[in-house]
């Protein structure tokens, strides 16, 4: 169920250049149903920055009733968020949307998880859940440059991890597809989250494979009421459009017209 929760910040760390990891505790944690769901955060109680910001849940710790989010302080809202301190409270709406289907990959099978930039975070909880059920996870994580790479160690602990940077300062130089092209192992499912051009490239390369992609759109309500976040669907779909916030953000490959 979607709830509005005043969550308490239990930690805030800078992971890389402008990349922050924040842990939040509150009863919302008990409502999460799948990796890839997101929360909608009010970055301050002032009306100046009026809209909530959608941020993916990167990791769930049920024992501590805690979630982790990883975000880039880019515009005004996320910069404001990065100034919050441990002990501060934030107004959070969530969990929102439908996440990645863990059940689509069986134990013993291989899944390939492809992330780009701030699309990487939700793949972490996904990988944790897949690995826990016995799926072999391979991670291909693309970043602009060395100084914005995060969670390399964390992903490596879960499975084979390829880091790609556009400028070649860390790992393979190029795009996620540079690694994917050379990757020859069989896999049963791919899961991806990142910028549109990356999702497009991934979908093209893995045409015909079972895959799930997580999309981004500017949002108003975050719950399906305002029609801000719609995407057109591909021909032959049963609906002419989907809403990223409530129908997604994750969709099977081939559904959303990229």
């Amino acid at each position: 169920m979607i709830i509005q929760d005043r969550m308490k910040i239990t930690s805030q760390n800078r992971l890389a250049h402008n990349i922050f990891e924040m842990k939040l505790t509150g009863k919302l944690v008990g409502e999460i149903s799948s990796p890839g769901q997101f929360i909608h955060i009010r970055v301050s109680d002032s009306y100046e920055l009026l809209l909530r910001r959608p941020i993916s849940i990167a990791s769930i710790n049920e024992e501590k009733t805690e979630i982790t989010i990883i975000y880039r302080a880019e515009g005004k809202g996320t910069t404001e968020l990065s100034k919050k301190r441990e002990g501060d409270e934030v107004d959070v709406l969530g969990p929102l949307g439908n996440g990645f289907p863990v059940e689509e990959t069986a134990a013993g099978e291989t899944a390939i998880l492809i992330g780009g930039g701030i699309g990487v975070p939700p793949l972490y909880e996904l990988s944790k859940q897949l690995t826990a059920k016995g799926v072999k996870c391979v991670h291909v994580l693309g970043f602009q440059s060395e100084n914005v790479v995060f969670y390399e160690k964390e992903f490596a602990e879960l499975g084979e991890t390829h880091i790609v940077t556009v400028d070649g300062t860390h790992g393979t130089a190029g795009f996620v597809t540079t690694v994917m092209e050379k990757f020859e192992e069989k896999f049963s499912t791919y899961y991806s989250c990142g910028p549109m051009p990356m999702l497009n490239a991934v979908e093209q390369m893995y045409k015909g494979q079972k895959g799930f992609l997580s999309f981004e759109q500017r949002m108003g309500c975050g719950i399906g009421a305002c029609f801000a976040c719609v995407c057109r669907t591909t021909e032959g779909s049963d609906k002419p459009y989907i809403k990223v916030c409530s129908d997604g953000p994750v969709f099977p490959a081939g559904v959303v017209s990229i």
Partner: protein, 304 residues
């Protein structure tokens, strides 16, 4: 006695708080969060004759204490609203105000004729002020003669009272208000969004795919209050006021300015529970102000 009840043409409201059109879909999403019967009324999303897919995205952008939107009247079309959306709402004890949009007089009239016959539609809200579609919408709302004629044409077919939604993007809003009153409007709803634009700092390109959008939220409240204050003294029909309502004290302001009830738009995105929260807080606010019944506030600013 219900201290919050307000009676308006076609609408016996248990309280004067309703979500504004376009900010609440057809109620289902918020219906998952709270009991819609708590609301004074619901203004549903604009309905057009045919399904509309709206504008390209991005459709929203944030501005200081406000937001821009250019949804472009996306809706499933009259038939689907009649068959799916309105019946779903029947289980709630809440009057529905159907927002009617179109491109030509004939679509407005046809949507009005059909939708006003739905059992739970208690009033129409004629949208002559949508800034986000190329044809129709705002073009009807800026010319008093056109506005009056459209109002009369819709009144002629509607089975329920007709409220006309005014645009703030005009030199003289009272002139338009008087025109729709002359056309037979039973009430006025105001204001729709102000025209606005946001550019991306890096590229210089408009953030919203439609280039311009409608500005809503707290930023526009002073404009809305001024217009409600003015129009409520220019016409005799009641006003449902809106524009930037975000907290209970804003409701007091709109009623004081001359509105008989209010609608909450953008604030639903900020706090999805805002309507029931305001409804809950109102009685204590009346106590604070030493007022017995909410209707005593209406038009208070004129009397001083």
């Amino acid at each position: 006695m219900n201290r919050l009840s307000v009676d308006l043409p076609g609408l016996q409201l248990k309280n004067p708080i309703m979500p504004a059109s376009g900010c609440f879909g057809f109620g289902q999403e918020y219906g998952n969060l709270y009991d819609l019967s708590l609301l004074g009324a619901i203004m549903i999303k604009a309905t057009t004759l045919e399904m509309r897919l709206g504008n390209p995205t991005p459709r929203v952008a944030e501005t200081s204490s406000g937001m821009l939107n250019a949804i472009g009247l996306q809706n499933p079309g009259l038939k689907s609203v009649m068959e799916n959306e309105l019946p779903w709402l029947e289980k709630f004890d809440v009057p529905i105000i159907a927002n009617v949009a179109g491109t030509e007089t004939s679509d407005y009239v046809e949507v009005a004729r059909v939708i006003s016959s739905a059992p739970n539609v208690n009033a129409l809200e004629l949208n002559i002020s949508c800034p986000n579609v190329k044809e129709g919408g705002i073009t009807f709302g800026t010319d008093p003669i056109v506005a009056e004629k459209l109002t009369a044409a819709v009144k002629a077919v509607s089975k329920v009272p007709v409220y006309v939604k005014l645009s703030p993007n005009v030199t003289n809003v009272s002139e338009i208000a008087r025109a729709v009153e002359a056309g037979g409007a039973d009430g006025i709803t105001m204001i729709n969004t102000l025209l606005g634009m946001r550019l991306d700092e890096k590229t210089g390109r408009p953030v919203i795919a439609n280039l311009t959008g409608g500005l809503s939220g707290p930023a526009i409240k002073p404009v809305a209050i001024k217009m409600v204050y003015e129009v409520s003294q220019a016409v005799r029909i009641p006003i449902i006021g809106m524009g930037g309502i975000t907290e209970t004290s804003d409701v007091i302001d709109f009623l004081s300015a001359g509105a008989s009830a209010v609608a909450v738009g953008t604030a639903n995105f900020v706090n999805p529970f805002i309507c029931p929260t305001i409804i809950k807080e109102l009685p204590a606010k009346l106590d604070e102000l030493g007022i017995n019944h909410i209707s005593e506030l209406i038009g208070r600013s004129h009397r001083l």
